[in-house]
Amino acid sequence: MVLLALFLFLGSPFSKTEEKWKGFDEVVIGKIAEEKGREPKGLFQLEGDSELFVFTILSGIAGFIVGYYWRKLLSENKDASYSEKRNFFSSTGS
């Protein structure tokens, strides 16, 4: 958990402060494709900060789900018996 958090933490500031940290597909896959005359194109274009907005919201939602179920499955339910677990998840509708 700590290592995961550390990697998450390191990922952000490094990428922001250094322009060179471009995505692998842009630098490598995109370049290979362009050399062969295949232009990468997105399904749709998220203009300006809307891309950042969507990315942040989705990451936040995914992070919430991971945190929620981590707590429900791995902490609160740690010592519960099998039948108790079934009852718990049945009653919460999961």
């Binding site: 692998f24 490598v28 399904l43 902490s75």
Partner: protein, 246 residues
């Protein structure tokens, strides 16, 4: 525990750098190759869906587990990790963790859902290339992790070593298949093996360290889950002997 969840959530929100990773973008693969990879993926996905249905019906708690792992793979495959040697960023694939917890079928389906959501919501990857991306990340990534678990079944290595190797191999296998897909589609008049080697060499500076990072992440998460709830590890769904993940 609440603090951990809050810490994780905060870091995710504070890490909004847009990520681009292994996904082959829309337009890169010619239509015939896109359809070819879609066809193979559709067959495998059909089989995996049947498997995961049985897996989920067996225990209600596993539905929550499936949601957890899918969200985890979605999240982990959106995180751009700078690779100092290469000066580029890439992301883990996360499916090895899925294999340990959901089994191969569950991991394949979870990986497909993740790639589908990323294509529709973030234009990350593409619809025509979804078959190729699913085959590389979800299918081959999961199968290679499973293969590693099988091979290490009788070895005395502790769980974190097994998880580390399976995570690293899943990452490298994913990118090997991506390199092959690109080479087959884009080689033109060049011999396949020459173009493939050139592509793999271009991938290596980023993906070799990335595989090691993925191994560390997989080992951390799998070990943490096993310590807290060893019963969630699905050795019987992996068709392995009891205790393989211990």
């Amino acid at each position: 525990m609440k603090e951990r969840a809050l810490l994780l959530g905060s870091l995710i929100v504070l890490s909004p750098e847009l990520v681009y990773g292994m996904h082959i973008s829309e337009g890169i693969l010619p239509l015939k190759w896109a359809l070819f990879w879609w066809l193979i993926t559709a067959v495998i996905l059909g089989l995996a869906l049947r498997g995961v249905r049985n897996f989920l019906m067996d225990d209600l708690q596993r539905k929550a587990l499936f949601t957890f792992v899918t969200a985890f793979i979605f999240l982990i495959s959106l995180i751009p990790i700078p690779v100092p040697i290469a000066g580029t960023s890439s992301h883990p694939v996360g499916v090895a963790t899925g294999v340990f917890v959901l089994g191969v079928c569950g991991s394949i389906v979870a990986g497909f859902i993740v790639l589908l959501l990323q294509a529709f919501l973030l234009a990350h990857g593409g619809l025509s290339t979804l078959g190729a991306n699913t085959l590389a990340m979800a299918v081959i990534g999961s199968l290679s992790a499973y293969l590693v678990i099988l091979l290490l079944q009788r070895t005395p290595f502790p769980l974190y070593v097994k998880a580390f190797i399976s995570g690293a191999v899943a990452n490298w296998a994913t990118y090997l298949v991506t390199a092959l897909q690109l080479s087959l589609a884009l080689k033109g008049d060049e011999p396949l093996e020459v173009f493939l080697i050139k592509t793999i060499l271009a991938f290596m500076p980023t993906q070799l360290p990335m595989g090691i990072i993925e191994g560390v992440i997989t080992a951390s998460v799998v070990t943490a889950i096993a310590k807290k709830r060893g019963d969630l590890m699905v050795s019987k769904y992996l068709n392995l002997r009891e205790g393989v993940v211990k």
